[in-house]
């Protein structure tokens, strides 16, 4: 399956639209255990990315992803800015001068992104963060691929795992980030970052499904 630079730009465009659409919901989730800005932060950041997309047309995928990461870092702030920013930067570093991605590149990209998030935020699974969505998603992607599933099928598996991971943050006690300040009271609330991470995986799946449907 051919994933081109144009596809990546289209993915970022769709992702930005999704963040704007879900902005209020993400901020709502950030209220009981945070400071009510997660949706606003990401919408601000991805809107800035959209502004940059035209000048990225024709550029290689590495440049596109690194630019996205830098734009997020420069416009989001808060925790999610450096975290998602680093994620896109790390993924971008893998694809300098690449205008197309092969099936296996997605997995390595997501792994690099997660590694970047964990380096930056020093959190592990089970601390009620975006990691609890991304890590199981990547696991599912890998095992599906290992079992011979095609990329779209594998990403569908990953999306299911991401959703479960996101929901699994509800009963968790937050031990990282702002949610940890409310202690026991963090239990029973879905983590906003785990939710925005799930949206990213969903948009990714939708993008690959489109590409596949067009291809066939």
């Amino acid at each position: 399956m051919r994933i081109t630079a144009e596809h990546v730009i289209h993915f970022l465009d769709t992702l930005a639209a999704r963040m704007k659409e879900q902005r209020a919901y993400l901020t709502e989730l950030d209220s009981p255990i945070g400071d009510a800005d997660h949706g606003t932060n990401l919408d601000r950041g991805f809107s800035a990315v959209v502004v940059k997309l035209p000048e990225l047309a024709g550029k290689d995928i590495g440049t596109i992803l690194k630019m996205t990461g830098m734009t997020l870092v420069s416009n989001v702030g808060g925790s999610s800015g450096p975290l998602y920013g680093t994620a896109f930067l790390r993924a971008g570093m893998l694809f300098s001068d690449r205008y197309e991605l092969a099936d296996d590149d997605l997995q390595t990209a997501l792994e690099a992104a997660l590694a970047g998030i964990m380096m930056r935020g020093k959190a592990q699974r089970g601390e009620k963060t975006m990691i609890d969505t991304l890590a199981p998603a990547i696991d599912a992607l890998k095992s599906a691929r290992a079992a011979g599933a095609d990329l779209v099928t594998a990403v569908r598996e990953a999306t299911i795992a991401a959703e479960q991971g996101m929901q699994a943050t509800i009963p968790m006690l937050a031990t990282k980030g702002r949610a940890s300040y409310v202690g026991e009271r963090s239990i029973g609330h879905q983590d906003p970052g785990a939710t925005s991470a799930y949206l990213i995986i969903v948009v990714l799946r939708e993008g690959l499904e489109q590409i596949a449907s067009k291809a066939s």
Partner: protein, 333 residues
């Protein structure tokens, strides 16, 4: 949502433009990236202090930029830490050649953004040191939290650290003094009402007419527990008890007391709070030799108060008394 604003998108910049117009003798304000520097920056040969954080805590930090306090402040979006670009630009703008100290409140976002900015500044050959402020006793400092939040101590560190830098102390000394202040300070806050993040448009949490929230932060985060409304005496008893026991402050200690308003609480109530604190310290044999009563580190229009106590010694008292000339704090000049 009832606020004197034009729009959630423009409010931070509208306020910065207002500050620039009101205090052109003290500060210069830059946009894209947004930061505030003292009018005479960079001060050659002086260690520079740079702080910053989300907006909504005014006068923190921009109101503390000026002689004897901060060299620069980086205001982020409301309750959102500034981005590295702001911090880097401010750091470069105030660098006097002998090092820049970043004063960072202990929030994941602030830590990460200042960290990234520090890496970039160092890559450009600027000597950077950082102090992390974490004085909020409402949060347990354990494996199960991101550590204690930086609250009231921030104001005291910026004042005392600023005086140390103004006195010509080297970077390592200024850092030592800031860490000493942070280590000797404890705080705790409470809210009578929530606050409304402009972009969110509704209160971050709901409090009943007879409820109060104890152990709140400065971002409208809910606190540790919700209790029935109580008298000023009982509330101060609760907050002061937690603060005093934590350091702990002991009989005979000389202390600076900072009674802070959260933004929507009028001064008359803060003096009532201070009066209750004085009574408690009297009975415990703690000597309040300095005080600051007012709304200096706020959470938008939240009604409530926070208590901050700093154990003083000659070094810290002298630096506290040193001249300061900023929009929000001025004495000795």
């Amino acid at each position: 949502m009832k606020k004197l604003i034009n729009s959630p998108e423009t409010l931070v910049r509208d306020a910065l433009a207002g500050m620039a117009a009101a205090h052109s003798d003290l500060i210069n304000v830059y946009f894209d990236p947004d930061f505030v520097v003292r009018a005479d920056a960079p001060v050659k040969g002086k260690v520079s202090l740079v702080s910053g954080g989300g907006s909504g805590h005014e006068p923190l930090h921009s109101g503390f930029v000026g002689r004897g306090m901060l060299d620069a402040a980086c205001p982020g979006a409301v309750f959102t830490s500034p981005v590295p670009d702001q911090i880097l630009a401010a750091t470069k703008a105030v660098n006097g050649g002998v090092g820049v100290l970043h004063i960072v409140k202990n929030y994941t976002g602030d830590i990460m953004n200042f960290e990234m900015a520090a890496e970039l500044a160092q890559a450009e050959g600027i000597k950077i040191a950082s102090v992390i402020i974490n004085d909020d006793v409402a949060v347990q400092d354990s494996l199960y939290t991101a550590g204690r939040r930086g609250v009231g101590a921030t104001v005291l560190v910026e004042k005392i650290g600023g005086a140390a830098a103004e006195a010509g102390m080297p970077l390592a000394e200024v850092k030592r003094i800031c860490e000493k202040v942070n280590a000797a300070t404890r705080s705790m806050g409470m809210a009578l009402t929530s606050c409304t993040v402009p972009a969110a448009g509704k209160p971050t949490f709901e409090l009943g007419p007879d409820e109060m929230e104890i152990g709140i932060g400065i971002h409208g985060e809910p606190g540790r527990k919700r209790l029935p409304l109580a008298s000023a005496a009982d509330i101060v008893g609760m907050l002061a008890g937690a603060v005093l026991d934590d350091l702990p402050f002991k009989r005979g200690d000389e202390v600076l007391a900072f009674v802070n308003g959260m933004g929507g609480t009028p001064l008359i109530e803060l003096y009532i709070v201070y009066n209750e604190l004085v009574k408690i310290c009297k009975t415990k044999g703690i000597m309040l030799s300095r005080n600051l009563v007012g709304s200096y580190i706020t959470a938008l229009e939240m009604a409530g108060t926070s208590l901050t106590l700093l154990k003083l010694d000659d070094e810290l008292r002298q630096l506290w008394d040193a001249p300061v000339h900023t929009a929000a704090l001025t004495w000795g000049v």
